[in-house]
């Protein structure tokens, strides 16, 4: 059964179409990333699942339960760590967790045990009698994760869980989330940190301007990138040697040969051989791989261009 299933999910805010028909399926037990620039519709998508936003059209189900018709069952399965700090400031943090677990039907004594465990897991048990307001920024982030965990959800939704935290804390949070996923919890993660998606996610969807641009594994996405090999020769050259005519692109930058290829390993040997034959002496080689971030930027940019072209085209059509 799919943990999340959306079909042609749409959301309008007046004239703004925040979601333009998103169809996605996240498998049970999967670690799924939702990537996209600001305003892409990621938070709207999440908020529809948890009931903070009402959809304008389409379908959304969590473990088979419609998020509006069967909202009690759907919400019972979800643990949410939202981007914004939205914590009850009247109560110490342990009590906030006890309440949250109680809302999900967990008896008070069990809820207290779970709250303690969640606070220990995220490393802020010593602060259990403190109110959220008095926690440091990093502790607040840890608490948000604890609150999402305390109901022992089948689906953990994390909206930018590591935004603004230091590297150490980010790694700590990754470890906790990863462990939960290994224990069977489905995770839906939105993030701006591409490295986060690359390290954690089984699959990612790239969302841009309310549309799914791509759904793929991080490895598949990486495969779409190119490797760049910069070859410094003993003497600067002005043009790539004519014998370099394989399945790769060449150019000269600052007197150095630059080769772009999908397979640097295979190409490099061929290029070096041809350069040797042409009498060039290789002084230095530098290889770099396109990062997922560059691929992501490239994909969202191309999607933007396509959308703009279509809009312009539509406009011209209307005018005619």
């Amino acid at each position: 059964m799919a943990a999340i299933e959306t079909d042609d999910l749409r959301k309008r805010y007046g004239d703004l179409r925040a979601l333009k028909g998103v169809s996605l399926e996240v498998d049970e037990g999967e670690f799924f990333g939702l990537l996209g620039p600001n305003g892409a519709g990621k938070t709207t998508f999440i908020n529809i699942l948890v009931g903070l936003v009402r959809k304008s059209g389409g379908e959304a189900r969590v473990f088979g339960y419609d998020v509006e018709d069967d909202y009690e069952e759907a919400r019972d399965a979800i643990g949410l760590a939202p981007q914004e700090f939205n914590v009850d400031r009247f109560f110490p943090i342990e009590e906030v967790l006890v309440h949250k677990a109680g809302y999900h039907g967990v008896p008070k004594d069990v809820a207290k045990e779970r709250a303690e465990e969640a606070l220990r897991t995220v490393g802020i048990y010593d602060k259990r009698d403190t109110r959220f307001h008095w926690l440091s920024g990093g502790m607040k982030r840890r608490f948000m994760l604890a609150r999402a965990m305390v109901t022992e959800p089948d689906l953990l939704i994390l909206d930018e869980p590591t935004a603004g935290v230091d590297v150490q804390l980010r790694h700590d949070l990754w470890d906790i989330i990863k462990r939960m996923n290994e224990e069977g919890t489905t995770v839906l993660l939105t993030t701006h940190y591409i490295e986060e998606a690359e390290r954690l996610c089984d699959r990612v969807a790239i969302l841009d301007e309310g549309e799914v641009v791509e759904v793929s594994t991080p490895d598949e996405l990486m495969g779409r990138g190119k490797d760049t090999v910069r070859v410094k020769l003993s003497k600067d050259i002005e043009e790539p040697p004519a014998t370099l005519d394989g399945d790769y692109e060449t150019r000269v930058e600052d007197g150095e040969l630059v080769v772009e290829t999908r397979n640097a390993g295979g190409t490099l040997a061929e290029v070096l051989r041809e350069l040797d034959r042409a009498g060039h002496e290789v002084v230095d080689i530098e290889m770099s791989r396109t990062s997922l971030e560059e691929i992501f930027v490239d994909m969202t940019r191309s999607h933007e261009d396509v959308t703009r072209t279509q809009t312009t085209g539509d406009g011209q059509g209307d005018g005619a």
Partner: protein, 267 residues
């Protein structure tokens, strides 16, 4: 067992989510006695001192009872409904303002249970304040309760009704000024002109008829009947109770419909 721990043995049959939300709501005000209990205590000591004792001696008897005793049921109603309304509206609006209400609205508690938890906890606050005011009154004059069941019924219904209105107010408010406006410019004038401080009999006929359009008159009248056994307005406690009960049910149903629609809670 504390007041908020278990709600008695019957509470075991209530859903845990509902009980937890209600416990949270009650703890919020019980743990802040300086905000919850002290202001009405001081205000009513002043009311009883100034209106009851100092002015009351000059006013003499109204409907066969001393003015201070005549005043008491009205002050109980004023305190009870103000607190029911304020508690529900503040709790919901503050939760919306700081977005922590989302921990509740994204939970599996049904909309009906959410509304009932807010309404019942707020109505309970109103009843507690009503009892506190009656106790303050008892310091100044012997208080009798002629019809305890009617008193309990009227108190339960009117605090529920105003807690229900408070939920609507909390969902409707866009900033804290809205809450002040609702309380100071709508609620208080209606209560003050609802026969808290005077008997409608002393008004000219036209203003008596106008006053009868004010629903507060019947609430004050009902509670006064419970305490004193006499009515200022001859409507009969049963009819007033039925009408107020229907009104309370309708308002709570509207609350549930608003929660279901996500009014003020989504987007």
């Amino acid at each position: 067992m504390s007041l908020t721990d278990g709600f008695g043995a019957g509470a075991r049959f209530l859903p845990i989510g509902f009980r937890t939300l209600m416990r949270r709501e009650i703890l919020r005000y019980v743990r802040r006695p300086r905000n919850t209990f002290l202001p009405p205590l001081i205000t009513n000591v002043l009311y009883f001192s100034v209106f009851g004792v100092i002015l009351g001696e000059r006013v003499g008897e109204i409907q066969g009872v001393s003015y201070i005793l005549f005043l008491l049921p009205g002050l109980v109603v004023l305190g009870a409904i103000s607190n029911s309304f304020e508690n529900a509206s503040f709790s919901i609006f503050h939760g919306r303002w700081n977005e922590y209400i989302q921990a509740t609205t994204t939970s599996p508690i049904s909309y009906t249970q959410m509304v009932l938890a807010y309404v019942v906890s707020s109505a309970l606050r109103g009843v507690l304040i009503g009892v506190l005011i009656a106790l303050v009154g008892a310091v100044f004059t012997p208080v009798t309760v002629e019809h305890p069941l009617y008193l309990i019924a009227f108190m339960a219904v009117i605090t529920t009704l105003f807690a229900g209105f408070g939920v609507i107010g909390g969902l409707w408010a866009r900033d804290f000024d809205y809450l002040t406006v609702m309380n100071q410019f709508i609620l208080r004038p209606l209560v003050f002109f609802g026969g808290v401080f005077y008997s409608l009999e002393i008004l000219p006929p036209l203003w008596t008829y106008v006053s009868l359009l004010n629903p507060m008159v019947y609430m004050v009248n009902g509670v006064r009947y419970g305490f004193l056994g006499a009515e200022t307005v001859d409507v009969g406690p049963n009819s007033a109770l039925v009408v107020l009960t229907v009104a309370a049910v309708v308002v709570v149903l509207i609350d549930i419909a608003l929660f279901r629609r996500g009014y003020g809670l989504t987007e």
